[in-house]
Amino acid sequence: MSGRILIVEDDERLADYIGQGLTEQNYTVDRAANGRDGLFLATGSEFDAVVLDRMLPGMDGMAVLKAMRAAGVATPVIMLSALGDTDHRVEGLTAGADDYLGKPFSFAELLARVQALQRRGAGGGQAQQSVLHCADLELDRLTRQVRRGGRRITMQPREFRLLEHLMMHAGEVVTRTMLLEAVWDYHFDPGTNVIDVHISRLRRKIDDGEAMPLLHTVRGAGYRLAAD
């Protein structure tokens, strides 16, 4: 994917790191080191997404976000904060942020979230359909049935939701944290490899005995459901 991203971050090295990573992924990156410049850029030009630090000199991230939304700018915003807990997350999301990422984070996590936002902005993929497809894998959200080829797969309720989420984001990288948030509604890291084990169970159900595996592990990032 490509696109134009605005990074508003006063920590120069962190901004470098994010900017460099995004550039490597073929994104065009604009940067602002304080809230005022960030707001000026965000309201003046078209961006695919804004990565906005919460604590900024001059005008803080929350104020920038509110001013952007007040000015009618609907660009998706990911808020970054050292205060990554639930309280601040909810506060950020109510103020109009589309996603919230606690520092420290891995670049893979940020990238996955930026891409998810871009897709959501582009029409949400299969989000509205009642039957989701990925290659010969089929998930019916109404009858709650899952089939691979002609084979019917029985699913526990949580496995169903896990697969549903992966299929809604087919082709995208979905991180462990994103899965925990979307499928379990937990905003903490339960540690060890709790999610990995759920994924390997799911993988056994849908990929075992198939010529083409669909559920891929993306090293250092998360998982991706795709036909390649």
Partner: protein
């Protein structure tokens, strides 16, 4: 009930005040009684002496006949039926209000004697004095003590009334004092409770009285002020730490990732992988420590809602079940629906910590239980692992404490401290106990494991 009431300090103070008031009232009355009796006795003595003097005067004026005439005319107090006079010696005795001449009456001053007023009657108490006349006549003058008894009866009635009134007033007064003490101490305790549960803005209301309570109130408020300021500083420090420490760690990790990208293979890549593991551990510890500071100081928004602990337990068990199965551990739930006012996220995080701990150190069976015990809800995680020695249990809940057998496992040593902080935020407690083999630990392997029990208040 009575014993419990008696163990209350206020009840004892009330009882003491009551007893002191009753005793002092009774003592006053008794003193008054004896004083009055003395006054009456000395009055009677004077009356008897006066009469004797009058009779002596009659004798010196008119001789023995004059004396008898005086008595016959019933002058002055001679007519008083309580007064008696006996003239004996010469001729026939003259008796006024008497049946027999009393024995043992002396001449110096009035004495207590028994007299017979009516022949064949009962002798009654009286006071009498004697005078020996020059012609050999013996004059005895006295008065009955009857008024004393009447007075005593009247006084006893007065005392009874006084005691009843005093008792009522004393009880009322004592109860009022008790109520005042109780109310003032409760006001102080309520504020202390609010402070204890994290409301550092709580203060005891103003009441300038300059007494011990006021002193206590001022000191409590002073203490609260100090706590408030320290927590405020802590909050600032926590925020600063978060920003100042987490950012460099994030950059460190970012730099390692960049380097890993540049050197995907070889010895450098191995070293970088190790560095990354450490950086991530540092990041986790820092995050956990900051989180703990936040929780312990009550710096969290109130996001509590009525929820069922059984649901929380079931969700977490479901999350961990595949991991438990993979490590050969049986993870089961024994729950009943118990609704409490709680923060789902925080409680889930605490429970995740406990399950994670049990998976790391806890043998092959873990039971998550939810039940109701009298006035609180119990949420516990029991395992059949090595457990924690009783001596170490209190320490285990402390910060950065990693017991010896845990050194080899990764972790920040903040898990149980975090659980305790979450419980405290909900007004609850955490205790560690020994799981006796088989009872809670499920499979009954014979080993005793660890139970971590959170108690949360029911509403």
């Amino acid at each position: 009930m009575f014993r419990r009431l008696w163990s209350s300090t206020v009840a004892r103070i009330v009882a003491a005040i009551f007893a002191v008031q009753i005793l002092s009232g009774a003592a006053t009355m008794l003193l008054l009684h004896s004083q009055m009796l003395q006054v009456i006795a000395s009055d009677r003595g004077r009356q008897i002496n006066d009469l004797r003097d009058d009779l002596l005067a009659a004798f010196y004026e008119g001789g023995h006949d004059g004396l008898v005439r005086y008595l016959g005319d019933a002058h002055g107090s001679v007519s008083d039926p309580l007064i008696f006079v006996a003239v004996t010696g010469k001729d026939a005795p003259a008796l006024v209000h008497l049946a027999a001449v009393p024995e043992g009456v002396t001449t110096d001053r009035p004495h207590a004697v028994k007299v017979l007023q009516v022949a064949g009657g009962e002798p009654v108490d009286a006071t009498a004095v004697r005078a020996d006349l020059p012609d050999g006549t013996r004059l005895t003058v006295g008065a009955l003590n009857a008024p004393d008894r009447q007075f005593s009866i009247a006084f006893a009635e007065a005392i009874t009334l006084t005691v009843v009134l005093t008792a009522l007033l004393a009880l009322g007064g004592a109860l009022m004092i008790g109520l005042v003490i109780s109310r003032r101490t409760h006001a102080i305790a309520a504020t202390a409770e609010a402070l204890g549960s994290g409301n550092f803005a709580a203060r005891i209301g103003n009441a300038e009285r300059g007494d011990g309570f006021d002193h206590l109130r001022r000191q409590m408020n002073f203490m609260a002020e100090r706590i408030d300021r320290l927590v405020g500083e802590l909050q600032t420090v926590a925020g600063t730490l978060a920003h100042d420490l987490r950012s460099p760690v994030a950059r460190l990790k970012a730099a390692i990732e960049t380097a890993q990208h540049a050197a995907p293979e070889g010895p450098a890549a191995e070293a970088l992988a190790l560095a990354r593991t450490d950086a991530e551990a540092l990041e986790d510890m820092l995050g956990a420590a900051l989180e703990l500071v936040r929780l312990e100081s009550g710096m969290v928004a109130d996001r509590r809602q009525m929820l069922d602990l059984a649901d929380i337990a079931a969700d977490l068990a479901e999350l961990y079940e595949p991991l438990a199965e993979q490590s050969g551990t049986a993870l089961s739930c024994q729950t009943v629906p118990v609704r409490v006012l709680a923060d789902r996220e925080l409680l889930s995080r605490a429970l995740a910590n406990l399950i994670d701990n049990s998976l790391k150190y806890g043998g092959d069976a873990i039971t998550v239980a939810v039940r109701r015990e009298r006035d609180h809800a119990v949420l516990e995680v029991a395992d059949n692992g090595a457990g924690i020695a009783e001596a170490d249990r209190d320490r285990a809940v402390g910060r950065f404490i990693r017991l010896d057998n845990a050194r080899t496992q990764p972790g920040a040593g903040l898990g149980l401290a975090m659980v305790a902080a979450v419980a405290a935020l909900h007004g609850g407690t955490v205790e560690l106990a020994e799981a006796s083999g088989g009872e809670s630990a499920g499979r009954g392997s014979g080993r005793s494991g660890l139970i971590v029990r959170m108690r949360l208040p029911l509403d």
